[in-house]
Assembly symmetry: D2
Homo-oligomer: 288 residues x 4
Amino acid sequence: MRHDALVSRETKKDDTIVDIKGIKVGGNNIVIIAGPCAIEDKEQYLETAVTLKRLGAHMLRGGAFKPRTSPYTFQGLAEEGLKIIAEAKELTEMPVVTEVLDTRDVELIARYCDVIQVGSRNMQNFVLLKEVGRSSLPVLLKRGLSATIEEWLMAAEYIMAEGNHNVILCERGIRTFETYTRNTLDISAIPAVKHLSHLPVIVDPSHAAGRWGMVGPLSRSAVAAGADGLLIEVHPEPELALCDGGQSLTPENFAKLMKEVRAVAAAVDRTCDKEEKVSCQNKINMVR
Amino acid sequence: MRHDALVSRETKKDDTIVDIKGIKVGGNNIVIIAGPCAIEDKEQYLETAVTLKRLGAHMLRGGAFKPRTSPYTFQGLAEEGLKIIAEAKELTEMPVVTEVLDTRDVELIARYCDVIQVGSRNMQNFVLLKEVGRSSLPVLLKRGLSATIEEWLMAAEYIMAEGNHNVILCERGIRTFETYTRNTLDISAIPAVKHLSHLPVIVDPSHAAGRWGMVGPLSRSAVAAGADGLLIEVHPEPELALCDGGQSLTPENFAKLMKEVRAVAAAVDRTCDKEEKVSCQNKINMVR
Amino acid sequence: MRHDALVSRETKKDDTIVDIKGIKVGGNNIVIIAGPCAIEDKEQYLETAVTLKRLGAHMLRGGAFKPRTSPYTFQGLAEEGLKIIAEAKELTEMPVVTEVLDTRDVELIARYCDVIQVGSRNMQNFVLLKEVGRSSLPVLLKRGLSATIEEWLMAAEYIMAEGNHNVILCERGIRTFETYTRNTLDISAIPAVKHLSHLPVIVDPSHAAGRWGMVGPLSRSAVAAGADGLLIEVHPEPELALCDGGQSLTPENFAKLMKEVRAVAAAVDRTCDKEEKVSCQNKINMVR
Amino acid sequence: MRHDALVSRETKKDDTIVDIKGIKVGGNNIVIIAGPCAIEDKEQYLETAVTLKRLGAHMLRGGAFKPRTSPYTFQGLAEEGLKIIAEAKELTEMPVVTEVLDTRDVELIARYCDVIQVGSRNMQNFVLLKEVGRSSLPVLLKRGLSATIEEWLMAAEYIMAEGNHNVILCERGIRTFETYTRNTLDISAIPAVKHLSHLPVIVDPSHAAGRWGMVGPLSRSAVAAGADGLLIEVHPEPELALCDGGQSLTPENFAKLMKEVRAVAAAVDRTCDKEEKVSCQNKINMVR
């Protein structure tokens, strides 16, 4: 990596903190982004959103455009889905993140959402990286399935080189020979990124594991390793989910996870405060 | 894989032959596509094109839009490059193939080129797959760095599902632990694809090896394993190339390669005839 | 995996606790095994051993027979090394673990040591597995570089099938495409093994990372994910080590690590008590 | 790799030819080693051996000690199997190769066989490498499942450093993310080994593919890439084989393979002569 890369710790010594309407990713507080893989149904999504807020999530996730291996599986509700996620945002006052697949959708998504996600399959879709680099929205950049840490940072560099410095990296498992898990969570990537770059890094244990029973242990390990946040799939009825049900937590299990994550956060001198407190502080911030 | 997938051998028993202005990919003749990684300079490119035709290549390759790991390396000449490749096409009467990175460039490329390439990094850029699926141009679909054979075929399915059935698959090495080569050429993918699908499959030994000295052995092995063609990087002065010089053959080495490939093709009851002969036969075909 | 395998959680519901002279691996206390990669010098090793005991390690590690990629690098002190490790054991009253490479050395090692280690390269050396299976010593079985979790458990089965049920599994990183770290620590293997088997599982972050700066974060993440212990390389002068210096902690950094590990252990309702306490409790246990 | 390594092409420029009772591995003739994975039954093995000789194989393979993932599957007939393979050798006058698992069996195997095989799982069993290095028998050294080319060559160095320079390398597929094949045949390893070392290198397409239908294409590609020989599993009734039936050719398919291999060998200016001719020449050699 070039020493003068924008992404490099050598270029900027202090940790970058991405501020999403008051939710600070990269600071002392561990940020929890939760929600179903795909937005399937308005009522269900809104209900889940309210539950997640109550249980301590800070941000909402939900896919409106879904990248699927087969063209014949559910591809998402598109703008219809964006409207639902925007409604959930209104209702809960939580910022929302959704994935972009098409350069031509960046503006549309910016109208409804607060963070734009570039998924694993598009990590080296350089045209898309440049396009979100010209957006004013913070970008959640997932690591590609077989991307080295350096390639991942260079993908972030594409975004930053266009002027958008609000990049959040997200480790979500890499492809290896092991098939027991869907992918292999590369926990070492957390300290590696922290060493090489100033950007915040979060972890998606749901996609890495592909098994809901592992989301708890992997979330705890991510926080212990220094992750700045977690991206967790939660679905009220995982067995009925149109997408990735097997790796989704029920709200009950999510509540248990939050408790565990807070304990580990405290052990590494960090917090994972409830949304209420953060909101409070936001109001204070807004008053200043 | 669904038994009724368009890509499946069960759906269509006979081999698909993609006809590119008379050059038939998937038939008995092994098709050689050659050229430099990137179009850098008009005179140099035209000269190389003429040399390649003389040495027996059937089609020309050349990148105008280059996907590069770092945003600070040469990104290609864009439309300027397309104009040069089109001029080479005029001059040599060889069809030309170039890579598309942006959905918004599909029409532009179609104006200048005969085959549109979707590169490894975009193999699961489903929006781009759908866009080229709506194009009338044949598509050269490279396998993703860590894509399974099934995911690769499903990527082809995205293109075919939009109505474009002229898809040529291209194996170009997968990412493994071995670092001696740039990637690991998955030679087994050739018989696997031939078994599972009716689509033609070619091999890019240059990107797989990352070392020009291996291009010969890998090309011979690809033809022996049943590949329908080869995609070979050739540069008049590899040591001065702006991109991938280390894996480029000189014209002299390309001439040697052609001889070797023809011998192996004959051993597996196929041909790798000179462009002249093919043209001849094309004219005959056109008369019929 | 066969449901009736000895290694299977279905065969034995309760966690196996391997008792090594009072040190219990697989119980509530996280067990720390520390020491240099290879035994190089008697005085240095004894001094390091005393330091490690003072800093809270429970067991000592040290290689007398070293598996090295090249036949021309330091291969260990052999029996000379075993004598030194036995002396350290006398001095510190800590149990010791060392690696076996040769079936013909099992008895020799049993004379000096308390736990016998089968290394990654020998995980499917079935003859060696059977031999240690006939030993009365507990076995530390490292996961092979490219072994699936199932193959690893089946290797343990080879040991257990010979009658030795005191097997401790050790995750130490798998081989992937990523080269920033020496190997990729498969943190998911911890919950996977806990789910599939009743055997205790520990983690070797030193060999996984290959970089001492990552040993802390990886150790914390291992404990958070549910590991029963850690295997840590410590060397008084890492830069002078004959083997694996780059991944060795100094005693100062080991002291820091112990503090961090205790905090995370507490967060997951476990302990990582100092050796003194454990010894104390052992004496009490022995009195009962 | 050290420039002065015994294995290095820099140390010895000319190709090493390993002479096994007149069968020369590493010369111009492609050597075919064939037989069932495991020796199961005397009559069946002898009959298969005679068939293989008739069909043009040069050497026989057969396992008496089988390394199996589970301790509960067929482990081979041990010395009983060695006696059968020795009888086949008498009957057919073909040299025989078998795998060693235990240092203590090297002498036993030497009494019955002509080449001793070190399998993938033992490629870094350095004690075994040293032991076969002290044997007078040629060694067939398979590449480890996740061994780099350099580690593989260093394993050969262990054998050579003990005085045994008759080492034949065998590529048999590496472990990658792709699961369609049992392993991924690293065809690039052939030219890589030829470049780095003077040792002969053969290919085992049967274990690489794990599917008999791919053995033909992979064998052809191996010969085209420069391999000095092939190790092919053949079983009279693959569906009844106790081990690896799915990847075994019937004698009929083996006959077809031989024809294909000879054609490709000729295309790369090599031969794959029938055993009879070679025997003839051997007799002539013996007269000199």
